[in-house]
Structure formats: structure tokens, C-alpha cells
């Protein structure tokens, strides 16, 4: 029964991943700790394996829809290990409370930027959900680079 509940929660996690482009770990980890009684580290580590597989399928689907800029994704992905190392070092040097508050402020700033874009531009046309409603063409805009990138 527990595994069925965990599967249902992970299905929802996959939906979240597909809808908003995150890996889904934010849902997978609690499914394993709360429902399957896994330890936090084991759940987070197993979640990473799931995130990798879910992201492969999600990318394949989004590529088909023309929603992937492979060049930019490669630069971000391949340079992220540098950040992982920095993160591990910083995590051991700075109090966790300060890190949490720092990231909370960054998250709120990003939320504010997103909401400002939404309400500044006005609601998008629901009859044409395929439009790049938030795209604000700029010299370095990636618009049109999608699947062909």
C-alpha cells in the first residue's frame, strides 16, 4: 500500500517537473521519507537518479515541442559541477541558517520578477496558449532557437 501511495506522489512529482521545468525532487524526496521511511540522505540520493531519468524523458518531450535550447542547456549543465563543488565548500563554511535565509531572499526576488512580468504585460490570450507571451524580444533573445538549437 505504501509503495502505491509513493508511486502516486511520484506521478504528481513528474507532472510538476513537466509543468514547470524542475527535476521533481522537491516531491520525490518527501514521498520516500514520509511514506517509505527512507533516510533523508538516501531519499535525496535516490531522488537524484529519478530526476536524471525524468529529465531525459521531459527533455525529449519538450524537444519535440521545440522548447529546448540545447546549446544553452549544455553550457549550464556542463559548468554546474563547478558550482556543486563551491556549494559543498560554502555549505561547510557558512552557517546553514544564513544559507537558508539567503536562498529564501533570492527565491522571493525571482518570484517578484516573474510576477512583475506577468502582471506588467497583462493576462495572455487563453485562446492562443502557444504564444510566447512572456518573451520580451531582445538582442540576445533565444526565441526561435528551440529544437533547432
Amino acid at each position: 500500500m505504501d509503495i502505491a501511495i509513493a508511486c502516486l506522489i511520484c506521478f504528481i512529482g513528474g507532472m510538476v517537473a513537466g509543468l514547470i521545468g524542475v527535476g521533481g525532487g522537491i516531491v520525490f524526496v518527501p514521498a520516500m521519507t514520509a511514506v517509505l521511511s527512507k533516510g533523508q540522505v538516501e531519499a535525496e540520493s535516490t531522488s537524484l537518479l529519478m530526476i536524471a531519468l525524468v529529465s531525459v524523458v521531459g527533455t525529449w518531450r519538450q524537444y519535440g515541442y521545440g522548447n529546448v535550447n540545447l546549446k544553452d542547456a549544455a553550457v549550464i549543465g556542463l559548468l554546474s559541477p563547478v558550482g556543486v563543488l563551491i556549494g559543498v565548500v560554502v555549505a561547510n563554511a557558512v552557517p546553514e541558517r544564513a544559507l537558508r535565509i539567503g536562498f529564501a531572499m533570492l527565491a522571493l526576488y525571482m518570484a517578484w520578477r516573474l510576477l512583475r512580468r506577468v502582471f506588467k504585460d497583462g493576462p495572455s490570450d487563453p485562446a492562443d496558449p502557444g504564444t510566447e507571451a512572456l518573451a520580451d524580444p531582445a538582442p540576445d533573445s533565444p526565441a526561435g532557437t528551440g529544437a533547432s538549437a
Partner: protein
């Protein structure tokens, strides 16, 4: 690709990686809003590109956790990933059919939730 753009994307990758190293989650929470805010990505393009970048980040982190520390429960992961994959196929399909700004609203709600969890969790 111009060098300024590469440096900016590298900064996003580094920040996303740092977030993963700090809090043990994927970097999508950082990548999506930054691509939208800094590079004027449309919401769908940002989420698709984020998923592609996350493949690399998660594979490396999972390989380290599993290969070096033996913390990955492969059997449980493979059982749970089946429904998760069905979910991501459904989620990407739904995303193409809803107004693009709904994605931003959902993401903003997620960020606010994460911020609250970071402070009170």
C-alpha cells in the same frame, strides 16, 4: 555564441550547481527564473532548457552519491520513476495547452513556497 552570453550561462550553471550542493535538490528552481529574467526566455523554452541542463547535474550528482557513497537505492528509484515518467509526459503535454503565463504563476508560487520552507523548515 558570444563570450558574454557564455559567461552569463556559466554563472547560472554555477549557481544552480551550488544550490544542488548546498541543499541536495536539482537546479531548476534557479535555472528557470534566471533564464526568463536574464535572457528573456519564454516560459516553455525556459522549462525545456532547464530540464535538459538538469540531466547533466542530476547524473553527476547521482553518480557521486551512488558510486562513491553508496547512498542510491536503485531498486526503489526504478520502481518510483515509472509513474514519475508518466507524470512528466502528462505535465509537458498539459503545459503546451495552458496559457504560458500560467507557468510563471505556478513557478512564482513554488518559489514563494520554497522561500517559506527555507526560513521555517
Amino acid at each position: 555564441m558570444e563570450s558574454r552570453r557564455i559567461i552569463g550561462l556559466a554563472a547560472i550553471g554555477t549557481l544552480a550547481g551550488a544550490f544542488s550542493g548546498l541543499f541536495g535538490v536539482g537546479g531548476g528552481t534557479v535555472i528557470v527564473p534566471m533564464l526568463i529574467a536574464l535572457y528573456h526566455y519564454g516560459d516553455r523554452l525556459a522549462t525545456g532548457t532547464s530540464l535538459a541542463a538538469i540531466i547533466v547535474i542530476a547524473l553527476l550528482a547521482a553518480a557521486m552519491q551512488g558510486g562513491i557513497y553508496g547512498n542510491v537505492d536503485v531498486e526503489t528509484g526504478l520502481i518510483l520513476v515509472g509513474p514519475a515518467i508518466l507524470g512528466v509526459i502528462g505535465g509537458t503535454a498539459i503545459q503546451q495547452r495552458i496559457p504560458e503565463k500560467s507557468v510563471s504563476l505556478l513557478f512564482a508560487a513554488l518559489l514563494i513556497g520554497v522561500a517559506i520552507e527555507m526560513v521555517v523548515g
